[in-house]
Amino acid sequence: MELAFALAIGALTASGVYLLLRARTFPVVVGLTLLSYGVNLFLFSSGRLVSGGQPIIGSTAAYSDPLPQALVLTAIVIGFAMTAFVVVLALRNLADNDDDHVDGRQSGTDSKLDSAEEVTGK
């Protein structure tokens, strides 16, 4: 079981990292999401893989470790907030540059006027 779980985390990481290295914003956002799944699962699994040991007092004989669960719970929510933030950053980039490249407008088409507009936020 542990091996399968580890492979799942590895697959999430590999896919996430590959997408992270792409040149367009959307794949990068998707990659970050995959990566955060992987990280969450990893953090969660630091409490080891326990079957039927939900940390509800009185519901079972042995409990799984509640601490990583609590940490991951907030990590999931904050991960969402960060994904939303990055998505919006990508949208703003699209709105300002008419392009969804991660580096903003391509250097070839850059001009002083445009960068001045960027500063004032259009």
Binding site: M1, L3, A4, A6, L7, A11, T13, A14, S15, G16, V17, Y18, R22, A23, R24, F26, P27, V28, V29, V30, T33, L34, N40, L41, F42, F44, S45, S46, G47, L49, V50, G52, P55, I56, I57, Y63, P66, L67, Q69, A70, V72, L73, I76, V77, I78, G79, F80, A81, T83, A84, F85, V87, V88, A90, R92, L94, A95, V102, D103, K122
Partner: protein, 933 residues
């Protein structure tokens, strides 16, 4: 209390003094004198203790964990330096009153001067090495500001920068040295360090510590080869030079050597490093001083030379040499300060400092000339003046050095040679300036005597020169004894302060130096011609070139790494993580720990298989953005199932609801974005990225496997044991969130709120027109809000709200809680937006999500602060059982209020983000308005 007061008063004075600048130079000079006068009065009562060899300690804890304390120590040595700093400081204040012009920024000058004085007093009075280090750096900074006081002069700015770079760099070395010493001794308190001298010297790190400390001392005290900053610092106003570069700042390094003398001195390393550095500095400074045409340049090099002399004396390692060194510190401060002041007067009255133009001033300012001539004679070592006494001791000590064989001749030879140079440049200072024909086109002509009071500080110092020279035992005897005793750790050797010790070898060396010097000066033209054959190195140019070379290297390096490409940054980040992790990971290999693998079951294996497949497919099909998104949602669902499978119901519920929101969010974003990612990277690049990604994935797999199969001990036993009795809930995860680690959660929902507000702010003024179709030739459907969806969505809302209320309330005891309930509510509301449009929903949701976010944070904070009212620390929770009819007996925990805050923040933040994106397109807003109407 009096010692910290002595140190802190000047800083307070620095704040107050500029207020007096309006009242003119006299007012501010008087105001600036107050801290020193109070300090002198505060030090006076301690004299009797110190004269008996006692020590006054005032200590207050500051950061005991770091070994840093606010402790001050007064003994003979620190008293000597404190008196030099305070008394010469007073004279400088008076002198500067007349030196500065009324239109100059007098307030700034005095404020800086006082700051410097405070820092300097801090160095000499600190009893904690770390505390001393703080003041040490403060002197570097304040002296930088003082040297560059005339900020309009480029030379002044550059000179200041050079001084800061050299002394600041030395300061870093010193800090490292002090840390090592503190580590060896186990304390940074001076008492402990001084008592642990043998322990330090026996330690294997002693040579390192010694070198680092000496680097600090040598840079500060302008020792060869770091001496070059001092002459360039002469761009400072003359009162600054007279104060910093004769009596105080450059003596800080000397002080350090004296202070740590019992702890560090007495070894071979000390002897060779200190004495040879001192010898080189002594000779080079004295030699170069002869050829300087600039009055202050001559004095600066002479200062370098005298500092070398003192260093050499400390390096010799004998007790008598240390006494002589302390004695020369006093004498040099006195005559050099007066000479700088005299040079300043001449500069002030003639408008130049070039000795080729200043001649024959005797006729114009006989009074100043007399004073300067006495001081210069003291510098040369003429009998009956103070300089003679300590120089005589120096000559005597140079004969006592037991170097092997022919080398025994070296110290006396160097001493005599330096003595000859000293007499020659002193003679030049006297003859070239005050005699030697007529002035050559002076900017101010004719020069005349300065204001009466400007001469008073010089007179006082020159009087001191004579007093010490004629009645040494009477004037400085007790102070010197106290200082020497403190330097040597209480063992003062027999020494005798007298004008004449009989006709012996040192006296002969003095005479040789005196006549040799006069002879040399009379033949100066030959030496000038000889010296002119060598090209002089302009240290400033070298320094500037080095600085700009380093800067351009750094720029190039930065430009190489930071080229504006996010792809490159991300790549570098991952690669560097791999680079760090690769060796340990290789060692680890496919490692299965003691716990071994647990058996697999088919459903789980299939689930994990789907997860892996979909994750890889997401990456493989990422160009088709919509497909990638669908696959991503499958991955998310599988993750949620995985949480459920492995005993984390709370996580499963959270992941499930977050998944819905995330996918809606990404769909919404995709609406505005191209639906297709073009191929941009070359095949090689993609292959490279695949390799990086696979390496990262393999690394994570290996690490996870190793971790999962290791037995572990967790701190969670505490949470499990205390959840019910302490937190009043059986759902331990929720109790951790709202109770045990409530403060963390408060921080986390704050992050959530900030992210949501950031999103709102980023999109507030932005408009985006979505493409007309999905990019594959299909236009968007005209039926924006399908009837069926609308009909189903509307009754869903109250149901969903009910469920979320239930989940919220039971959260303390069963899976659920504020986070999950908030997400469920958010999903229900989002469904309304999707089904019925922005305007329709907005009309029916009568509040702004900003307020909701704020309200949520407020609730959470109130729940935390509320516990103060009952005398408990922040975020202490309590609970009780109440019974209601029908519902029965149930439990109410104060943490519920906190969880309500979490609930509200989550709803507000989620919707604020999504609605901000939904509102982006003006097109859809108009359309939805039509629909809604």
């Amino acid at each position: 209390m009096s010692l910290p007061l002595v140190v802190l008063l000047p800083f307070l004075g620095a704040l107050a003094a500029p207020l007096f600048a309006q009242g003119g130079r006299t007012a501010i000079a008087i105001a600036a004198s107050v801290p020193a006068l109070i300090a002198l009065a505060a030090l006076y009562p301690h004299w009797q203790t110190l004269a008996d060899g006692g020590v006054v300690l005032h200590s207050y804890p500051w950061l005991p964990q770091l070994g840093l304390s606010f402790s001050f120590r007064l003994d003979g040595l620190s008293l000597l330096f404190a008196l030099l700093i305070l008394l010469i400081g007073l004279l400088i204040i008076l002198y500067a009153r007349y030196y500065l012009k009324p239109q100059e920024n007098v307030g700034k000058f005095y404020a800086l001067l006082l700051c410097f004085k405070g820092s300097m007093l801090g160095i000499v009075l600190s009893s904690n090495l770390l505390l001393m280090m703080i003041f040490w750096e403060l002197t570097s900074l304040t002296s930088f500001l003082l040297i560059s006081f005339w900020t309009h002069k480029q030379d002044a700015r550059r000179g200041a920068r050079m001084a800061l770079a050299v002394t600041g760099g030395g300061g870093l070395a010193l800090l490292a040295g002090i840390l090592i010493i503190g580590n060896i001794v186990g304390s940074f308190e001076l008492d402990a360090v001084l008592a642990a001298g043998d322990q330090i010297k026996a330690h294997s790190l002693y040579p390192v510590a010694l070198t680092l400390v000496l680097l600090g001392a040598f840079t500060k005290s302008a020792q060869f080869p770091f001496h070059f900053w001092l002459p360039h610092a002469m761009q400072a106003p003359t009162p600054v030079s007279a104060y910093l570069h004769s009596a105080t700042m450059v003596k800080a390094g000397i002080f350090l050597m004296a202070r740590l003398y019992p702890a560090l001195a007495g070894t071979e390393q000390w002897f060779y490093m200190v004495s040879f550095t001192g010898m080189a500095t002594l000779l080079i400074g004295a030699y170069v001083a002869m050829f300087k045409h600039d009055l202050k340049g001559l004095l600066a090099h002479s200062t370098v030379s005298h500092l070398g002399l003192i260093t050499l004396l400390f390096g010799m390692g004998t007790q008598l040499a240390a006494v002589a060194a302390v004695f020369h510190v006093i004498n040099h401060a006195i005559f050099k300060a007066s000479l700088f002041m005299a040079a300043g007067i001449i500069d002030h009255e003639t408008g130049t400092r070039d000795m080729r133009r200043i001649n024959g001033l005797w006729r114009y300012m006989p009074h100043t000339a007399t004073l300067a001539m006495v001081a210069a004679s003291s510098m040369a070592g003429v009998p009956l003046l103070n300089g003679f006494l300590s120089k005589e001791m120096f000559f005597a000590e140079s004969l006592q050095l037991n170097l092997p064989g022919i080398w025994a001749w070296l110290p006396p030879l160097v001493a005599t040679l330096a003595g000859i140079f000293a007499v020659a440049y002193s003679a030049r200072f006297i003859h070239d300036v005050f005699f030697n024909g007529k002035p050559v086109d002076l900017p101010i002509y004719p020069p005349h005597e300065p204001p009466r009071y400007m001469k008073i500080p010089v007179e006082i110092l020159v009087f001191a020169c004579i007093m010490v020279g004629v009645f040494p035992a009477l004037s400085v005897g007790p102070l010197l004894y106290a200082a020497a005793s403190a330097t040597l750790g209480g063992e003062v050797p027999e020494y005798h302060l007298a004008i004449l010790h009989g006709f012996n070898l040192p006296l002969f060396m003095s005479f040789a130096a005196f006549f040799g010097g006069l002879l040399m000066y009379s033949q100066r033209q030959r030496f000038f011609d000889f010296h002119a054959r060598f090209r002089e190195i302009d240290e400033k140019a070298v320094f500037e070139a080095t600085v700009s070379r380093i800067a351009s290297l750094a720029t190039r390096f930065t430009g190489h790494i930071e080229n504006g490409s996010l792809q490159r940054y991300a790549g570098l980040l991952v690669i560097s993580v791999l680079a760090v992790a690769i060796a340990p990971l290789m060692n680890l290999g496919v490692f299965v720990g003691e716990s071994g693998l647990s058996p697999v079951d088919w459903p789980t294996l299939i689930g994990i298989g789907i997860l892996i497949l979909c994750a890889l497919a997401t990456a493989a099909l990422h160009r088709e953005r919509f497909y990638a998104l669908v696959l991503l949602s499958v991955v998310g669902l599988m993750v949620a199932l995985g949480f459920a499978r492995f005993s984390a119901p709370d996580l499963a519920m959270t992941q499930l609801s977050v998944e819905v929101v995330t996918i809606v969010l990404l769909m919404l974003a995709l609406f505005y974005m191209p639906s297709w990612t073009p191929i941009e990277s070359s095949t090689t690049r993609r292959l490279r990225d695949i390799a990086i990604a696979l390496a990262a994935g393999a690394g994570m797999t290996v690490v996870t496997l190793a971790m999962l199969t290791q037995p572990f001990a967790s701190i969670s036993e505490f949470f499990l044991a205390n959840s019910k009795p302490g937190g009043g809930g059986t759902n331990v995860v929720n109790v951790i969130l709202v109770d045990f680690r409530g403060f963390d959660t408060l921080g986390e929902i704050t992050v959530l709120a900030i992210a949501a507000l950031g999103i709102y702010a980023m999109l507030k003024e932005t408009a985006l027109t979505p493409p007309p179709g999905d990019g594959l030739g299909h236009r968007w459907t005209r039926d924006a809000y399908p009837l069926m969806l609308r009909q189903i969505a509307r009754p869903m809302l109250p149901l969903a709200l009910m469920v979320s209320a239930y989940i919220f309330l039971r959260g303390h005891n069963l899976p659920g809680g504020g986070f999950i309930a908030g997400l469920i509510t958010a999903v229900a509301l989002i469904l309304q937006y999707i089904a019925s449009g922005m305007i329709w929903t907005q009309d029916r949701v009568p509040f702004r999500y900003h307020n909701m976010v704020g309200l949520g944070l407020l609730f959470a904070t109130i729940a935390g602060v509320g516990s103060y009212a009952f005398g408990y620390p922040f975020l202490t929770s309590t609970f009780d059982y109440i019974s209601w009819p029908i519902v029965g007996k149930f439990e109410v925990a104060s943490a519920l209020v906190f969880d309500l805050g979490v609930y509200l923040t989550v709803i507000g933040a989620t919707l604020l983000a999504l609605v901000s994106i939904g509102r982006l397109s003006p097109h859809s807003a108009i359309k939805s308005k039509k629909e809604g109407a």
